[in-house]
């Protein structure tokens, strides 16, 4: 048993070498080595991605799908190759199911605006959870306002997991859409989206998955998950900002009206009306973020070369270590489950407010997030207004966790002793 496990487990990451891939990490902040623990907000970029974007602008740039000249052909090829890379990475049946957008937020808004109005009538229901990021909540609120649809919210257990029974209870004949996050950006919990997609289909509803916090860390196979839409952002997975992905089933995308009108998205235009290009171009009006797509393609190749299974194993062991050390600090409370989670660690430290923690840590070179993490309803549910959040990625080390622990001691000292020093 044990030997099988060992044999099956991937070779460990050489984090020292990985760190050399990320030039930004090699700097001092407030006189101390930078400890970047805010990758859930946005990850850093490996040299390869920065280089790919730069190379594209230096050698291949022109507008896409418009010119017959060499550069336009190259730019179009680079852009479409990035689409194919994304499609292969997430197990999409066809590259045309991959729509490039600005990020997760735009992907969800696209579905809400293009799918929603014709699919919903008054009294129809959209089922969300109480742990959704504002970007998987507000677009549905806007849609509900427009259509008279009703929003329902599956509960979160005291342990910080999705209450699946409550979700099942809330599914009904009027449920048209179930939109859930794959991984919570506050609790780190991984939701059983495969199960949820199945349950959604049982009642005839569609299932959209917000993969913003999952795609950077887990291998994704949309066909295996069985969902209908999957959304994620490039900038959280080593890619550039301003580029993201909406994956959708061909027949659904084909049936949806355009999201925005303009160039690129038309088949023919007359003054009285136009006909639309085929998917995915129907949803990509205007000149797209070509360099962003090229950078995202390279980011995915980078992650695949390192190996998401190895990244995941590294993060899992680092997360266990971080939880162990944080748990040993008196007065410190971690939110979310102990297992079945990613390295997003939200915590509260006695009566030291998250913003004070973030300021004190920042002055020791340690970057964490403080606040409601665009998760205000969940915060209310947990009974807090703000938490501190340290989030891990492939380039983080045990030494950095130790630096965080030391930094928290400084905070306690500064505040004249909150809780006790950790039992090191």
């Amino acid at each position: 048993m044990t030997t099988t496990d060992v044999a099956a487990s991937p070779a460990p990451l050489d984090v020292g070498r990985i760190r050399e891939d990320f030039p930004i990490l090699n700097q001092r902040v407030h006189g101390r080595p930078l400890v970047y623990l805010d990758s859930a907000a946005s990850s850093q970029k490996p040299e390869r991605v920065i280089e790919a974007v730069s190379r594209y602008y230096r050698h291949d740039h022109a507008n896409v799908h418009r010119g017959v000249h060499a550069l336009s052909v190259r730019a179009t090829d680079a852009y479409e190759e990035a689409r194919a890379t994304v499609a292969a990475h997430i197990g999409a049946g066809d590259a045309s199911e991959v729509v490039f957008v600005r990020g997760t937020t735009e992907a969800i808004n696209l579905v809400a605006s293009a799918w929603g109005p014709s699919a919903l009538s008054e009294g129809d229901e959209i089922l969300l959870t109480k742990m959704e990021h504002h970007s998987n909540l507000v677009p549905w609120q806007l849609l509900a306002d427009r259509t008279g649809a009703i929003l329902r919210f599956a509960d979160v257990t005291p342990e910080g997991e999705l209450d699946l029974e409550d979700l099942e209870r809330l599914l009904g004949p009027r449920t048209r859409m179930v939109a859930v996050t794959h991984v919570s950006n506050t609790l780190g919990v991984v939701n059983p989206v495969e199960r949820i997609a199945g349950l959604s289909h049982d009642v005839g509803a569609l299932c959209l998955v917000d993969g913003a916090q999952a795609a950077p860390h887990l291998p994704i196979d949309v066909e295996e998950l069985g969902c209908d839409f999957y959304a994620f952002s490039g900038h959280k997975m080593c890619g550039p900002t301003g580029i993201g992905v909406l994956w959708g089933r061909t027949e659904l995308l084909a049936a949806m009206p355009p999201y925005q009108g303009g160039g690129e998205m038309i088949a023919s235009v007359r003054l009285e009306g136009s006909t639309w290009a085929a998917v995915p171009h129907k949803f990509e009006a205007g000149t797209p973020h070509i360099a962003g797509a090229v950078g995202l393609g390279e980011a995915i190749r980078y992650l695949d070369d390192v190996g998401l299974d190895r990244i995941h194993a590294h993060e899992a062991s680092l997360t266990t270590y971080a939880i162990e050390r944080l748990d040993a600090i008196d007065g410190l409370r971690i939110y979310g489950p102990r297992h079945g989670r990613t390295g997003v660690l939200s915590f509260e430290y006695g009566d030291i407010h998250a913003h004070d923690l973030a300021t004190i840590l920042d002055h020791q070179g340690i970057a964490i997030r403080a606040g409601h993490h665009c998760n205000q309803p969940l915060m209310e549910h947990l009974g807090v207004t703000a938490t501190a959040r340290a989030s891990l990625y492939l380039y983080n080390t045990r030494d950095e966790i130790d630096a965080l622990i030391d930094g928290l001691r400084v905070a306690a000292e500064m505040f004249g002793g909150v809780g006790d020093a950790p039992r090191a």
Partner: protein, 169 residues
């Protein structure tokens, strides 16, 4: 895992910039806020929050004629926003409305780095917050309480309290 196994030299020296921010008097107001809790007989009341970080201050005043007789607050948030509100309520009592707004103006200037004001006795304990000026992202925390005051008094003019009903108990 013990400290000796950590390659990061444990550096618990408190950086000077931080100690200038977290003065003892600030932490004292944070831990033992003055004038915190509801104000019986309030004539003015307002709640404001900082949508970016979720800090909340509710400010209540009892004003008779032109003078602030009492000021109390409720709130949740970081040490800077809560200590500043606590200090502010102490400095408001007994001032005329004009004097209160003048204090708000001075404190805002202090937050924007007007060093001369850090000696101004009129600001009382609020002077301890002078260090916040070096932390631009925290200035809005320090100003939340005074934003409540300015909103209450500035918007009202001579027309009387905007929210008399919200005041009682």
């Amino acid at each position: 895992m013990s400290d000796s196994e950590s390659k990061h030299a444990p550096n618990r020296a408190i950086p000077e910039s931080l100690s200038s921010l977290y003065q003892e008097v600030i932490l004292d107001h944070y831990r033992r806020p003055r004038n915190k809790g509801p104000l019986e007989g309030a004539t003015h009341s307002i709640t404001m929050n900082n949508p970016l970080c979720g800090d909340v201050i509710e400010l209540q005043l009892e004003v008779s004629g032109d003078r602030i007789d009492r000021a109390r607050f409720e709130g949740r948030g970081c040490s800077i926003s809560q200590a500043a509100a606590s200090m502010m309520t102490r400095e408001l009592e007994g001032r005329s409305l004009d004097e209160a707004l003048e204090l708000a103006g001075k404190f805002t200037q202090l937050m924007h780095g007007e060093r001369g004001l850090s000696e101004d006795a009129d600001l009382g304990d609020l002077r301890a917050l002078a260090g916040v000026a070096r932390f631009p992202v925290r200035i809005k925390c320090a100003l939340l309480g005074f934003n409540c005051l300015e909103e209450l008094l500035g918007a009202e003019g001579a027309a009387g309290p905007r929210d008399p009903a919200g005041g009682g108990a």
